[in-house]
Every structure is written in C-alpha cells, then in structure tokens.
C-alpha cells in the first residue's frame, strides 16, 4: 500500500533499465529502507548493473526477463511480478525507443519496431496491469509519454505518433479505472539527457532524469493524472499546439 505520506512498498518497472525509472527508484529508496522492486528488462549487463545500484541503496530487487517486441513476454513478466507475495503499489511503464527518424518514416521494419515497442507493447502492458490493479483495489500506473505526444513535429513524428497513441490510451485508462481505486499518471517530459538521447543536441528546457523523477514522485503523491517535466513545458506545449500548421512546420523543431 502507498501509505499516508506517499511511501510505497513494492514497485514494478517495465523497462527496468530506463534512466528515468532508475532515478525515480533512487528517490523512493531514499524515503524508506527495504522497498521491493521488480525490474523487467532484457537480461544482460545493464539490468544487472541497475539491480546492483538499487540494492546498494537498500532496495530488495527481483529481476525478470522482458522483451517488449514479444507479447508473450509482456504477459510473463506481469504475471510473475503480481504473483509474488504482496501487492504492487506502483507500476512504471518505462520502456521505449527513440528510433532513427529518417529510417522510421521510410523503412517499414524500423517503423514497425517503433510502433510495436512504444505503442502496441505499452497498450498490452497497460491492459494486463490494469486488470491486476483493479483486483487489488488500489495502486498507481506511471506511463512514460512525451511532450512529442502533444504535437508531433516533423523531426521525429514517428516517435511522436507512438507516444501520442500511448498517451491517449493511458489517459483514457486513467478514467476507466479511477472507480477501482487505481491512479494512472501520464508523464510528459521534454528533452531529457539519458542514454536514449545520447549524442543528440539538447533542446531548450532540457533536464536530467533526476528532475523528471522529482516531478513523477510529486504527481504520484498528489494523485495527479498528467504531469509535465519541467512543469513549464505544459504552457510551452500549449502554445505550440495552438500554432497554425503553416507556422508550426517552419519552426526549427
């Protein structure tokens, strides 16, 4: 159970090597010793390193294999996390690919992979997790969307379209499961300096995973449904969303 002051006991991360997810876990570890974490990700060095760094901070970590391109793998990871003893207080849907924009809109394999991972697998996980959380009568699902979901731009519209789909699904899911005591928090970060964006020039208002984690935890504790990181992004994107298309497409974004 999330307690009266927002401490959680068990967290399950789909995409357990995500920098933003790990930054969020580190902050949760600071609040309380012995928080249980299940990291679902592909087996390998990155997952091992993530687990070790969380254990060093006093978390109790379980690892489970998870491959977002495989539907059976989604079902397996979620079943094994929820069959363990104890309710899951928070699930983070944190996996995703940025992809190569130029390939993604011209190469069907690249486009298919992005859609599969960022949208189809996210929806599948959302469906499966929501069912489990409704049965508990409490819990929170954190879905990593993006400001790109709000108005996909020409420089990465395939990625943007998958996030727009994910965003719409989890926003609707939040309304569908609210009566069952389940909170769905859709997180819309701007440019974040992570391994996903390594090598790219930072955009304005860029931030660290730790800053995004602060926004996520504040939204979680306050019971919010949507948060922007940084919060000012909300007003920036609101402006961009209402720009006429003729103007928007000429912007260097």
């Amino acid at each position: 159970m999330k307690d009266a002051i927002g401490n959680v006991q068990r967290v399950f991360v789909l995409g357990g090597t995500s920098d933003i997810a790990l930054a969020t876990l580190v902050k949760l570890a600071r609040e309380r010793h012995g928080v249980q974490v299940t990291l679902a990700a592909r087996a390998g060095e990155r997952r091992v390193a993530a687990a070790a760094s969380l254990e060093a901070r006093g978390m109790r970590v379980t690892e489970v294999d998870f491959d977002a391109t495989d539907r059976a793998s989604c079902e397996y990871a979620i079943t094994s996390a929820f069959e363990e003893a104890g309710d899951v207080d928070v699930v983070m849907v944190a996996f995703g690919l940025l992809g190569d924009q130029q390939r993604a809109w011209q190469d069907v394999d690249a486009a298919w992979e992005l859609v599969q991972v960022n949208y189809a697998a996210a929806v599948a996980c959302g469906v499966l997790v929501a069912k489990r959380m409704r049965a508990q009568g409490h819990g929170a699902i954190i879905a990593m969307s993006s400001v790109a979901a709000e108005r996909p731009r020409k420089s990465n519209f395939v990625y943007g379209s998958t996030k727009a789909g994910l965003d719409a699904f989890f926003t609707g899911l939040g309304d569908a499961v609210a009566a069952d005591g389940v909170q769905v928090l859709v997180v819309r970060p701007g440019f974040v300096r992570t391994k996903m964006t390594a090598g790219l020039a930072a955009a304005p208002l860029s931030q660290t995973p730790q800053q995004v984690a602060d926004v996520i935890i504040a939204g979680l504790v306050a019971g919010r449904q949507t948060v922007w990181a940084p919060p000012t992004m909300r007003w920036v994107m609101s402006g961009l969303r209402h720009l006429p298309r003729s103007v928007f497409k000429r912007l260097p974004v």
């Binding site: 159970m1 999330k2 401490n7 006991q9 104890g86 309710d87 409490h138």
Partner: protein, 448 residues
C-alpha cells in the same frame, strides 16, 4: 445490496476500493466469510481508525453498523449484551438513563463495540480501569471456517481478538460490564501547567486520586515553555454533587451536534501560524486552577463530537494521528519527541498526554504502563516522513510502541520491534484462520 466503494480511514489518506456489504443475519455473514475469495473479508464499523485498518482493497468489507441492536440489559449486574455494530453513542443514549455508563470511552462516541474490541480502545480512565477488552465478559466470533465461537477471557483467541484489528474473525455480539453511575456528569478539576516537568510531576503525584485524567499539550510552545499544558481530571459525579437544578434529571443524556464541517476546506489551512494562534488562545483561556466544575459527559469526553465530519478541516490531503506509548522511566524520550515536534514546527493541534495503567491480556493491545502522547498532523510537509521515522526510532529504543488504530505509515519492519507478543498472536491467528481470510490494508502493509 453490495457495492464497490472507495474507503479511507478518518485521516482520509490512502484510499482503496472494496466491495461493501451491509451485514445481514448470521447466515449471511457465514456465507460472506466462507465465499470471500482471494482478497478476503474484513469488518468495518464507523471508520474512526485514522489509517487503513478498516479497509480491504479488492476484497470484501462488511459494514457492521447494519447490526446494532442492544440484546439484553441487566441493571443489577450491569451486564449488557449488544450486537457488534452498536455504537458507544447509542449505548450512552440508551443506558445512561438507567444509570449505566460505558466502561471505557475514547474521545469520540462514534465507534462501534466491535471496533472498540478490535482496537482494544482506551480512555481517560485507563490508569485505573484499563482498556475496553478488560470489560468484555464474552463475545461471539465468526471464524474463517464458518463456525461461530462463544469466547470468554479464558480463551487465547479471545485475547488475540482484543486488539487484533479484526484479523481473527467477525465479532458478532459482545457482553460488556458497564459502569454504574448516578449522573451523566463529571466533577472536573482543571490546572494550567507551565512546562513539561510541571505537568509530569502533577500527573505522577495526583492521577491515582482521579477516575479520569488527561492533559492537552501545546506542541508549538518552545524553550522554557516546552510542554506547557492544561491538565483536566475528574470523577463521575454523584447525584448529590450536582447543583439542585440538575438533580431532577441527573441521568439525562441528549448531546446535540452543533454543526457539520462542510467539504470546502483547503489543504494547508491548519499551518504553523493558525495553529499557534489557536493554541495560544486556548492556553490563555484555561483557568490557572479550578476545582469541582460540573461538566456533562459529552463536554468532558467528546468535545469534538459537537462538530460532524471535523476531519474535513484538514482539507483534501488529509491528516494522520501519531500516537505512541513509552514506559515510565522513559520521560527523556517523551521530552525529546515533544522537542522534535516543536523544533520542526509540524503544526499540530493540541497533543494529548495520558498515563496508562496495566495492559489487558490482548497480544496486540496497544496500552501498556507508561506515558502515551497523541497528536494530529496535516499531510503536506515534505519533511514529515523523516520526522516520523525519527520519532519511531526513539519510541522503539525506549521500549515503546505505536497504536495500530491510528497508524497509517509505519513500515513493516517496525512492528515486531514494537509488539513483543506478535509471534504469539500470529500462532493463534494461524490456528483460527490458516488461509488469512480476514485481512486488511493495514495487515498487508505491516505484514501482520
């Protein structure tokens, strides 16, 4: 007649959704228990536990207030049999005119008998009369296997149920030994105490002369006034002690609710400035010393019952109550805890301090000989978690514990360090309910 509903405790934090069934007859409850499913079943009374004790997310919750009849009254022996959903308010209204008062009353009348047993509640008379469970002579408990057992204080399951937070079964009926009184009034002595030393000394020296004793501490007072407080103590008034105009209807008891708090208060209304102003005014208003004042039972025991839904004044974020007991001899810990609260300025309305007497036999019963402090704290300040974790450690180090009926945030690791008889309780519970049919959000959070 069931429905899925979001439930919280009195502190309005950590909601969860359960299927709520109004309690029907015994056969109905047997069916609910034996067919409860994976998420189990739990009894709920009037929802005055502050945290998640009366919630069972995803499972069944039985609303016991649907069963609230008084079954028999014997004015001679003062033994009264009631259904578990009967409230103390109801018992006072019905039985005070017969000269029978509940043996123990907390700061509100709005609790059920079942809840009073499950939390083994205490009142201002704990130092002489003990907790609620000590006045229960028998109860009917619906167990996980669907049988109804008639328990008396000779059985282990009885004492696992007293203070057992509803996790051993559904209490259906109980027989209580009431307290005989001549009036619905108390004679009250009030004293203002300049600081904590002054207060502790007066309580240690004088409490034994009184049936009822409690002190209200201004937790925001600092430095030399740390622990400044108002001590009120009294006895049940005999008819002869009342002023003549009250003697004719000495046992009348018809308290009224003066107002209901509307659901419009913002979070943060109770902050350091507003609470400090309130506390100052309240301390100044108290007499330096007053003896033998006649107060009604409602005014003396249940001042907050005059305002319905008063928990709303803390706003939508809710609040928590922190209550602990430390043994006699651990006065330094008590002082340090008050100092920590005062230093961080966590706004609390007046904190309540009381001396506990002997424990009842409940394995998980909270009261044990020592000093107990209780205070309300609004949710909001980021530093709150760290402050309370620090208080937990101080309390545990002194051999103390916290009250499960108030708790909404303890980590599972703290419980075995606070309740030395936890394993004993678990054995009795496992024997009575091997599959854990009776469970709650609190039980899951604390791994009870």
């Amino acid at each position: 007649m069931d429905s899925r509903r979001q439930l919280t405790g009195w502190g309005r934090t950590s909601p969860s959704v359960a299927t709520v069934h109004p309690a029907g007859d015994d056969a109905h409850l047997v069916r609910l228990v034996t067919e409860s499913g994976r998420r189990g079943v739990l009894a709920r009374g009037l929802g005055r536990s502050y945290g998640d004790a009366a919630q069972n997310g995803g499972g069944l919750v039985v609303d016991m207030t649907a069963r609230s009849r008084v079954l028999s009254v014997d004015a001679g022996t003062a033994l009264v049999s009631v259904e578990a959903g009967a409230s103390l308010d109801q018992l006072m209204r019905l039985l005070l005119p017969l000269g029978l008062f509940v043996p123990v009353t907390p700061g509100t009348r709005q609790v059920t008998v079942g809840g009073a047993i499950a939390a083994d509640i205490h009142g201002k008379n704990h130092h002489v009369d003990g907790s609620f469970g000590s006045h229960v002579v028998a109860m009917d408990l619906l167990c996980a296997d669907g049988t109804i057992r008639d328990l008396t204080p000779e059985s282990e399951l009885f004492w696992a149920t007293v203070g057992g937070m509803g996790l051993t079964g559904l209490v259906l009926r109980a027989t209580l030994r009431m307290k005989k009184v001549e009036s619905a009034y108390c004679l009250v002595d009030t004293e203002r105490c300049a600081d904590l030393d002054d207060l502790l000394r007066r309580m240690a020296e004088g409490d034994h002369r009184y049936t009822y004793s409690v002190a209200w501490i201004d937790c925001l007072a600092r430095d030399t006034s740390l622990g400044r407080s108002v001590l009120t103590r009294g006895w049940p008034a005999t008819r002869d002690q009342l002023p003549p105009k009250l003697r004719g209807h000495a046992l009348d008891f018809r308290p009224k609710q003066l107002a209901v708090a509307p659901p419009v208060f913002p979070s943060g209304l109770l902050n350091r400035a507003t609470v400090a102003a309130f506390n100052e005014g309240w301390y100044r208003k108290a007499p330096v010393e007053r003896r033998g004042e006649v107060q009604s039972i409602a005014a003396f025991f249940h001042p907050l019952d005059g305002v319905g839904e008063w928990n709303r004044i803390y706003g939508p974020k809710g609040f928590l109550q922190y209550q602990f007991v430390v043994p006699f001899g651990a006065e330094d810990t008590l002082r340090r805890c008050i100092q920590m609260l005062s230093d961080t300025g966590q706004a609390s309305f007046l904190a309540v301090l009381k001396r506990f007497g002997e424990s009842s036999g409940g394995h998980l019963s909270f009261p044990s000989p020592g000093w107990t402090l209780a205070l309300d704290i609004p949710i909001g300040a980021a530093a709150l978690g760290g402050l309370l974790d620090g208080l937990d450690e101080a309390v545990i180090a002194a051999g103390g514990r916290e009250y499960l009926a108030k708790d909404s945030r303890l980590p599972a690791s703290a419980i075995s360090r606070m309740y030395p008889r936890l394993d004993e309780w678990r054995d009795v519970r496992r024997a009575a309910d091997p599959d854990g049919v009776f469970t709650s959000d609190l039980a899951r959070r604390l791994g009870l």
